[in-house]
Amino acid sequence: MSELEFRVAIRDALAEELERDPTVLFFGEDVAVAGGVFKATPDLFERFGPDRVFDTPISELALAGAAYGAAVTGMRPVFEVMFGDFMALAMDSLVNQAAKFWYISNEQGTVPLVVRSAVGAGGRFGAIHSQTHGTWFQGVPGLKIAFPSSPAEAKGLLKASIRDDNPVVFLEHKRLYSVKGPAPTPEQEVIPLGQAGIARQGSDLTIVSVGKGVPDALAAAETLAGDGISAEVVDLRTLRPLDVHTVLGSVARTNRIVAVEEGPRTGGWAAGLLGAVAEEGLHDLDDAWILATAETPIPYSPTLEDAFLPQTEAIVDSVRSRLGVAAPS
């Protein structure tokens, strides 16, 4: 099976959709000539030219407006907001314009735009280049939020996002860009938004996460298997729509759930998900908890940042502790 690097998966998805649909545009800060600061978009400018792929000023307000206005007038724009943290500057056009348009126009038109951003901590980028902004947008009806966990998903979800007629906030975890994984199967070429996946089957416990949390959960499940704990891993893939149904199906098999979120639990997706699981699946639950970050900004120092993040070791420790299983000596 051929291997695909996450950043190449992003580039391939963009290239294939630019090729497929002449209304697709791609723009952002240093994405065209330079190929992106994370080297996710090289060669697109050379291949498709400045009319389709172009650099912009460092003006997130203008970028988001440009994408929204272009989307309601016949284009299918994809734009990059370099770091997810910068999305704070782009919120008006996304939240007050793009997300509302389909509904308040009485369905006169659609807003087929995608905003891609690098998100997540672990790279020592500090508090304002490490956040994951998905939950800032999760309470906004009309927006979809996609967050791939692997190269194959990056390609399949991005292609689906570009073809979607609704505005999509697309999150790319920085620590995944250099990850290599199996190339998409034919079924994974376009992955429908709003459908979670079972990344690993198990019977004792459901670990649910998204983005980089999924490979962390898979690594934790491998370790836990050595303890005799059979963990199922659910990959949400999108935060809105949130596929509660798949999570409920998993909990019906395992009766325990831990939601692993790289972000504070207050206002996070994990709390909302467990609320929905409790509401509809209480009869299946023996235990449910959340592993999230502290309620502080993300620290810089390697020792502080590593301790802050709910990564593989923290997941293993949390599950052992909750299930009363001692670590092997």
Binding site: G65, A66, Y68, G69, P77, S93, Y103
Partner: protein, 325 residues
Amino acid sequence: MARLQAPGQQDTAGAYLDGYARMLLIRQFESAMHRLFLRGEVHGTTHLYAGQEAVAVGVCMALNPDDYVAGTYRGHGHALAKGTEPEPLIAEMLGRATGVCGGRAGSMNVIDLAHGLIGCYGIVGGSIAAALGASVSAKRQGRVAVCFFGDGATNQGYFHECMNMAAVQRLPLVFACENNLYAEFTPMADATAGADIAARAAAYGTPSAVVDGNDLWAVHSAAQTAVDRARSGDGPTLLECKTYRHYGHSKGDPAPYRTKEEVEQWFERDPLKLARARLLKDGLGEEQVAAAEQTTTALIDQAIENALAAPYPDPAIDAATEFSP
């Protein structure tokens, strides 16, 4: 009812008579909104365009039907000038199912894509961002986009970021600033540095003009130059149209911050009065003008009657979906 004229017919007296009739339509529409608000038929709040009619109509006279416009929360005039029919617009204000947005949008947020109105925006400066994006499409479609915004919006990041990007990319975008001298309740001098907003364009290498926003002919002429520039690939233009609103900022504002003298001075230069006098001076007969006025009045009266008789949307059968399929 007067229709927006096709290009090439715009300098005829007939085109300006149509423009005048459309200004009158906006004035009568806003008078009706004022009355219907006081009767409890228009809900929430509303921002009336009366006094500024020459700006929207003069600019839209320079546009093709398929060009794009983004309006403000003071947007009834923008919609009517671009071609939105009065009856569905009134019905929208009344929250009725026959509204141009089915009653989902209301006064501040009207969208009418069939007439190129991509939206009206309730947040100051939002229209600039939306029109910037429309100009990205327009450049590829041989069209032009216009954003209307007030003097207050020129202190938002949107104004500066979008003008910079439009200038760099030579986008076909016309910035139509309606300088009505007050940012909500605050006089321009207390909120906006520099004497003329038009001067701000120089920093972006963008041409600009200060325009008598109460003179239909002056606005149309300046807009035509800007639209022609945009359409020929020469990029954006800023028009600072000096004008005055006849009402307060919104329905909750009796505008105590304006002096009686100032108000009287501006009402003397009511754009409708000026336009009517100019039409007669240019050789149209009193009967012709009066006939256009009667047609407009009859149209708006009928539209109000029909809209008031229309049903409210029924929540039980509202088939709203969060997402487009």
